[in-house]
């Protein structure tokens, strides 16, 4: 009987972890041949699809965010004095306040769904680039935010009597660019905040200052379009939004793996 009884006490990290599993590489080849590690975008699509199916089935965030959206727009409407403020001056602000805060509801849930049963561990143990996980989460959040906008925009246009038909394509472009900026930053902060005890407080505190460079040009461009200005007058804002998106999407994607270090 081979036995090493009562070995001298040694730190686990120094001894137990010394070559715990060796020579398994060759034995794994058969398994490896049956697998092809998914690439960055395949991973992103798989994660996004999973998140969307979960949300469509549970509807927990969609329902609360849509309720918040409709209630928020309605409350702003009842508090609005049309004799003091013109609708085209108020509507862009209402729109972007609603987008921001309803979006935060979804962002908080984004990584929260991974925590309940520690599904995040299984996700991180998978042989995929962790940037792909971030991109998948970001994509699911983007779709979620866009869905809210699809409801919010007609509601604002209707209640505040702001016709949007003439410039709807430009407005949609601005909303898409701004949403991309919001969710790229928000998804990263959601990953950082989810493990903290005050995650619901911490996420808006961390994210809102970074939302400002997106919300300001987006609200300005929306206001100008609603006032009947030409698209050329908002081109600078669109460029600013596009630049913000590129920088923050790249930075947040590369930064995400570092938020997982334990």
């Amino acid at each position: 009987m081979q036995r090493s009884v009562a070995r001298p006490v040694e730190r686990v990290t120094e001894r137990v972890t010394e070559s715990v599993v060796e020579r398994t590489a060759n034995r794994t080849e058969d398994h490896v041949l049956n697998r092809v590690a998914p690439g960055l975008f395949a991973t992103a699509l798989t994660v996004a699809r999973k998140d969307i199916v979960i949300e469509l089935r549970s509807r927990s965030v969609i329902l609360s965010a849509l309720s918040f959206t409709v209630l928020g727009i309605t409350i702003f409407f009842f508090a609005w004095d049309p004799t003091a403020v013109a609708s085209v001056d108020l509507a862009p602000g209402v729109l972007w306040v609603i987008f921001t805060f309803s979006g935060l509801l979804g962002l908080h849930r984004s990584f929260g769904v991974e925590q309940q049963t520690r599904a995040i561990d299984a996700l991180l143990a998978a042989p995929v680039d962790r940037e792909g996980i971030y991109l998948g989460k970001m994509l699911a959040n983007l779709i979620f935010v866009l869905l809210i906008q699809v409801v919010a925009l007609p509601a604002v246009a209707l209640l505040y009597n702001v016709p949007t038909g003439a410039y709807i394509a430009s407005l949609a472009g601005i909303m898409l660019l701004a949403s991309l900026g919001l969710v790229s930053v928000g998804t990263l902060f959601s990953a950082m905040a989810v493990n903290t005890r005050l995650a619901e407080l911490l996420l808006p505190l961390l994210a809102l200052p970074f939302f400002v460079p997106v919300i300001l040009p987006a609200a300005q461009a929306t206001g100008r379009l609603m006032s009947g200005r030409a698209i050329s007058e908002v081109a600078a804002y669109i460029q600013l939004l596009a630049a913000f998106d590129i920088v923050f999407l790249i930075v947040c994607t590369l930064a995400y793996p570092y938020t997982l270090e334990d």
């Binding site: 070559s19 697998r35 590690a37 998914p38």
Partner: protein
Amino acid sequence: MRLDPGDCLALFGPNGAGKTTLLRLLGGLIRATSGTASIGGVTLPGEAEVRGRVGLISHQTMLYDALTPRENVEFAARMYGVRDVRGEAERALERLGASGYADRVVRSLSRGMQQRVSVARAVVHGPSVLLADEPFTGLDAAGASALTSMLAELRDAGAAIVIVTHNLDEALALCTQAAIMRQGRLVRHDAAPVPSRGEYTALYRELSVDAA
């Protein structure tokens, strides 16, 4: 410590001994503060490819409760790049006796049923290293028996297995090595043949009382 293909290590120890931490380290989820761990000669946490060889079972199910068992296992298969996603998912569920409720939402299943699905999720990609943290949690006798058979099958097929458990009977019957940890340290390690259950029970109880 070293495990070769076909080896199975039963790791015991009182609560807080560091068993789960060790498995998380081997699973590439955390970094060692000192020392090294390696799989197939690759130092952990290593690149993504190394993680693909490992299957992870936790005392938490790591399942999405709004999805069905089939969707959970298929999602894992996709993340591991399994070619025949549906076929392998079906086989894994069947192996654990979970195919009968594969299309019910996970949240409607009992803890034992969820644990079977969790094991199916962990083995769907055919891991060559299986790290099982309290794998018998919530399982009834039939479930425990199915899991034991599957672990023995994996071991015989050449997988290296580490089982963290308080269930000495099942683990000692299955494993070729046994070890006890306490307060982050390895205090005993036995290679095959592992000691008798009685001997280990007495030692384990003694260590657990000391730790308390």
